[in-house]
């Protein structure tokens, strides 16, 4: 008997005894285009981790996003700039499920359709978001803020009986160190300074360990030194995580892009220009709508 026949016989027996399911038309295999398709696992084999196509959002006739198309490569750090009302925050709302676009496509990796998921599901598959206004749990301690963000089962029953293990404690400790709040671990988050709250929120994102981080004006209200440290932190995250940073502070953008990364300029809900910061800053259209004023 050939090995194939023996394998087929073993499978037939397994089917009979309920250990396996019978082969379908494709011999029990799923279409995989040469790699394994994993449910709820982001697939970046085509390079892009985030892909927005033709997204349009209008509020009472005002087009906050107008046929916006954007693609972020896995591991990329992309800065997005643009004047007020350019649609930067709306874009983040669309990606995180807060706003449903009128039409267009939004994919996370090449398999996950973001427009079908709710906010919490999108967060669970690995998209973390930092708000423009630092949003932390004011009445809880810094430690508890991080604990709640820790990657874990998010269901009610799991939360009722959750106990932190040593590994999780270590992780909270690492992040506390990273965001320079280890001496404030037991302080109430509401008592932190504005900059520290920004750091705490970034720390909470790190606890979630997202694949894609969306950061809406992360250095607003920070001192120069804090801004510098934030830039350093983001640069260390690059590669392992993908980052989309919306920022007005050109010095910060310059530090992040290091003169070699792409910057996207949004204007009136669509991409106006894309390229190196220096090129973009010299682009006549960009100067007109934004930088020149």
């Amino acid at each position: 008997m050939t090995p194939e026949l023996m394998e087929a016989g073993r499978h037939a027996l397994d089917v009979k005894e309920g250990r396996a399911t019978p082969f379908g038309e494709s011999g029990g295999r799923q279409a995989s285009y040469g790699r394994i398709v994993q449910e709820d696992e982001v697939d970046v084999a085509h390079g892009a981790i985030l892909y927005l196509d033709d997204i349009t959002v209008s509020f009472d006739g005002f087009k906050a996003l107008n046929k916006l198309s954007l693609s972020i490569t896995a591991g990329e750090l992309r800065c997005i700039i643009g004047p007020n009302g350019a649609g930067k925050t709306t874009m983040m709302d669309v990606i995180t499920g807060k706003t449903r676009p009128d039409f267009g496509k939004a994919f996370f990796g090449s398999t996950i359709d973001l427009l079908r998921l709710r906010e919490n599901a999108i967060a669970q598959i690995g998209i973390g978001r930092k708000f423009q206004k630092p949003t932390v749990y004011e009445q809880l301690s810094v430690f508890e803020n991080l604990e709640l963000a820790l990657k874990a089962d998010r269901r009610v029953r799991a939360a009722m009986f959750h106990r932190l293990n040593g590994e999780e404690l270590d992780r909270i400790g690492e992040v506390l160190l990273l965001i320079h709040l280890k001496d404030s671990a037991q302080r109430t988050a509401g008592l932190l300074s504005h900059g520290q709250k920004q750091w705490l929120e970034i720390g909470m994102l790190l606890m979630q360990d997202p694949k894609l981080l969306l950061l809406d004006e992360p250095v607003a209200g920070m001192t120069d030194e804090e801004t510098e440290r934030t830039a350093e932190l983001f640069l260390t995250l690059e590669g392992k995580h993908s980052l989309v940073v919306v920022e007005h502070d050109m010095k910060f953008v310059d530090e992040l892009t290091q003169g070699r990364k792409k910057v996207t300029v949004l204007h009136e809900g669509s991409v106006l220009a894309e390229g190196l910061l220096a090129d973009v800053q010299n682009n006549q259209k960009v100067v007109e709508v934004y930088l020149g004023r």
């Binding site: 669970q124 301690s141 709640l148 009610v156 939360a159 009722m160 400790g173 160190l177 909470m204 790190l206």
Partner: protein, 375 residues
């Protein structure tokens, strides 16, 4: 991530919590337990009415009633103080538990009513010939106990599911809970619905075949209420000390952050909302046999607001606060309504304003140690 975090020194952090309660709080709980189970029965039943230390029946009844209110205040605290959802409809859940128990007590009257009929008096009065369908299980004590929990839970669950799924929040939620309670009150006021109309249920004779006005029965109900209150307090403590409880507080502080962290607020809000409704239902079921009457007045707008006042006066988000608040406000009420009956509502209003202005953390906020990081 780990590559980034390969720092030479990782601080050891520990969560600032251990046992369910600190040693002082355990002592207080034990003291309350001894008072309820030993001291009050001894002073009330063990001593002759002439004795200087005798505790009059009036006070046993009053404290028993207030302990039922304290359970409601505790339920309010879980949903309002910890989760930030102000419900003005908890009077409904209290009344549902009370009415369920009341139906059983009405059936226990048997043929001792004014009309010597198997049917409750008000049904004879309305010329009804048979019990309506919703009275079917009312002669079974076991079913009554089940329904005391299931009825408020089911109504809270359905209402909560649609309200929370539609993301109704803040004052809008408070208003619809009030509207729901008001609608229910109008329904219970009608004679056709079979809940005794505006008179409700009263003139109870027995519970489990034992006289309901006997001193021992009343004492048993008192002790049972006290134990339920302590039990619910410990349960609430366990809840707020768990990660689940911290998610509830996170929902109160920043619900969008909770959502974008991957939690589904619906499941959390719905579970605590239903639990707090059940607590109120149980309180209502303990209240009715002790007070001897239940009528739609328990669902009035004022009743729902009063529960919020108990929690606010005692101190929200502290668990012990609402219990203190329920005792303080109701103690003041029973004294005031005897001495200056016409001024009680003015005093209540003034107290609420004073607490809001000067004591944001309520009465217990006055005694709380002002630790450096919690002020």
């Amino acid at each position: 991530m780990s590559a980034v975090l390969n720092t030479p020194f990782v601080p050891t952090v520990k969560p600032k919590r251990g046992l369910l309660l600190g040693p002082k709080s355990w002592t207080a709980v034990m003291a309350a337990l001894v008072t309820i189970v030993v001291l009050v029965p001894l002073l009330n039943l063990g001593l002759a009415p002439g004795n200087a230390f005798h505790l009059p029946d009036y006070y046993v009844g009053l404290i028993g009633k207030i302990m039922c209110y304290a359970i409601c205040a505790l339920a309010m605290d879980l949903i309002w103080g910890y989760t930030g959802i102000l419900s003005l409809g908890h009077g409904l859940f209290f009344a549902l538990g009370g009415y369920t128990m009341g139906m059983y007590l009405m059936r226990q009257i048997g043929r001792d009513g004014n009309y010597q009929s198997d049917l409750p008096d008000f049904m004879v009065f309305l010329n009804w010939k048979a019990l309506p369908w919703h009275w079917a299980l009312s002669d079974s004590f076991i079913w009554t106990l089940v329904l005391v929990i299931v009825v408020p839970a089911a109504i809270a669950f359905v209402f909560g599911f649609f309200a929370f799924r539609s993301r109704i929040k803040g004052v809008y939620f408070s208003i619809i809970t009030q509207a729901m309670t008001y609608a229910a009150m109008l329904l219970f006021f009608r004679n056709e619905t079979g809940f005794g109309g505006n008179n409700g249920f009263t003139d109870f004779k027995r519970i489990l075949g034992i006289g309901i006005t006997l001193p021992t029965t009343r004492m048993f109900l008192f002790v049972l209420t006290g134990l339920t209150l302590i039990g619910f307090y410990l349960m609430a403590r366990a809840i707020v000390n768990s990660k689940y409880g911290r998610v509830l507080q996170a929902i109160r502080d920043a619900e969008t952050r909770v959502m974008f962290t991957g939690y589904d607020p619906l499941a959390y809000k719905l579970s605590i909302w239903t639990l707090s409704a059940v607590m109120c239902g149980v309180a209502g079921a303990l209240y009715v046999p002790q007070v001897g009457i239940i009528n739609p007045g328990e669902m009035s707008t004022a009743a729902g607001i009063e529960m919020a006042i108990w929690a606010a006066v005692g101190g929200r988000a502290s668990l012990i606060g609402p219990i203190v608040g329920a005792f303080f406000v109701n103690g003041a009420k029973s004294w005031f309504t005897q001495v200056f009956p016409e001024f009680w509502l003015y005093f209540l209003g003034a107290m609420f304003i004073a607490v809001t202005l000067f004591l944001p953390h309520g009465i217990v906020g006055l005694f709380k140690k002002k630790s450096e990081d919690r002020t």
